[in-house]
């Protein structure tokens, strides 16, 4: 009786399997790297959006407060100089034909230079205080303490929150900044121009 040829047996040789394993491992490794970097990027973007949202929310609150105020009551009054603090009173409406003004309020950077604080009756007995954000960068994005206008916005060595008066307008700039896991730093800068309405 004739024995069938052994060539007819199915299956892979060791070399074939090794090559297949190597190829699969290579493809999976690359896919893993791509997924990892995509997730890192997504995480950075999520953080960046989160801070941008927070920055816009904060600057909108500041803008709304300044909008209702009288340009003549703003402190400091000096144009061409920036400040990290602004005092104002805003209009509550009319009574007997006269504008009724609110108690004095202040928006400023606190001593740690990282918090934007809103204060009502600042430095008085009935002072109220609310922290609007605690992620403020020590300096505005692109700025260094060197007496030079590094970020070319017309201001020198400005803080992470800065108010600049220009005629009837108040230009508000805010940079939020936070180190993330992995040594990366996420920062977001927003700018708003507001005209005092009263």
């Amino acid at each position: 009786m004739k024995r069938p040829s052994s060539n007819a047996r199915a299956g892979w040789t060791l070399i074939e399997i090794s090559l297949a394993v190597l190829l699969v491992a290579g493809v999976m490794g690359k896919a893993g790297l791509v997924m990892n970097s995509a997730l890192d990027l997504a995480s950075d973007e999520t953080a960046s959006m989160h801070y941008e949202d927070q920055a816009r929310r904060t600057i909108d609150r500041i803008a709304l407060a300044v909008m209702g105020s009288d340009r003549g009551t703003l402190l400091p009054q000096i144009e061409e100089v920036h400040s990290s603090s602004l005092r104002y009173s805003f209009s509550l409406g009319l009574e007997d034909g006269e504008v009724v003004w609110s108690a004095p309020e202040q928006i400023h950077l606190d001593d740690s230079r990282t918090q934007v604080q809103w204060r009502e009756n600042p430095d008085a007995a009935g002072e109220r205080k609310v922290v609007w954000t605690d992620l403020v960068s020590p300096l505005l994005e692109g700025e260094l303490i060197n007496g030079v206008d590094d970020n070319q916005n017309g201001l020198v060595d400005e803080d992470g929150l800065s108010f600049a008066l220009e005629g009837e307008r108040v230009i508000i700039r805010l940079t939020l900044r936070r180190p993330e896991v992995g040594g990366r730093t996420v920062q977001q800068t927003v700018e708003s121009i507001v005209t005092c309405r009263n």
Partner: protein, 190 residues
């Protein structure tokens, strides 16, 4: 001697077809994942563009609001010859939004434009008109406060000034536009 096929024990391992199916499923999963990620990234970019355009438009409206009311039209229209401090001295009707790329059809590489209800008359030049049909600005309407919609130039006696701030840019998903309209009034600070 070989056993008949039916009596042979089942052989362990994957067939080529099984492996191919698994690889295909993995590949499809990867493609779905990567397309989802890229879609999310694109949506974020679009949201960011919107926020930048909106902020720029709002800022320019505030700039217009802060100007002397009677000089707004002359300072921010497209005609440099009527600028209050001499021809070519006012900002004009175009502005830059640095964080956005200009649209391909931008005539000067700028992204922003301020639009008033105007008409260009061959001899007289640019006129502020009440009889322009411009729904986005609420026209036609009385701008001078005399209760009549006429066909005269009201650039020197307007009481209400409709204005539209438009930002047009080349975005991640093609050419895009954001516009905001309001009416400036004489009883604002002049």
């Amino acid at each position: 001697m070989l056993l008949p096929r039916a009596l042979r024990p089942p052989r362990a391992g994957f067939t080529f077809v099984e492996l191919a199916v698994v690889m295909t499923i993995l590949l499809v999963a990867l493609l779905i994942f990567s397309s989802t990620m890229s879609g999310v990234a694109q949506q974020r970019a679009v949201n960011r563009e919107n926020a930048v355009a909106m902020e720029a438009a709002r800022n320019w409206l505030e700039i217009l609001r802060s100007e002397a009311f009677s000089a707004v039209f002359a300072s921010y229209n497209s005609d440099p010859s009527d600028d209050p401090n001499g021809p070519g001295t006012a900002p004009g009707n175009r502005f830059e939004v640095a964080e956005l790329s200009p649209a391909p059809d931008s005539p000067d590489g700028l992204q922003g434009e301020i639009v008033f209800p105007t008409m260009t008359i061959p001899v007289d030049g640019l006129q502020l008109r009440e009889d322009v049909i411009e729904r986005g600005l609420g026209l036609p309407r009385d701008l001078s406060g005399d209760g009549v919609i006429d066909d005269r130039d009201h650039s020197l006696d307007y009481f209400i000034l409709p204005v539209q701030v438009r930002v047009r840019w080349r975005g991640k998903s093609g050419t895009r536009q954001y516009q905001i309209a309001t009416q400036l009034c004489h009883f604002n600070k002049a």
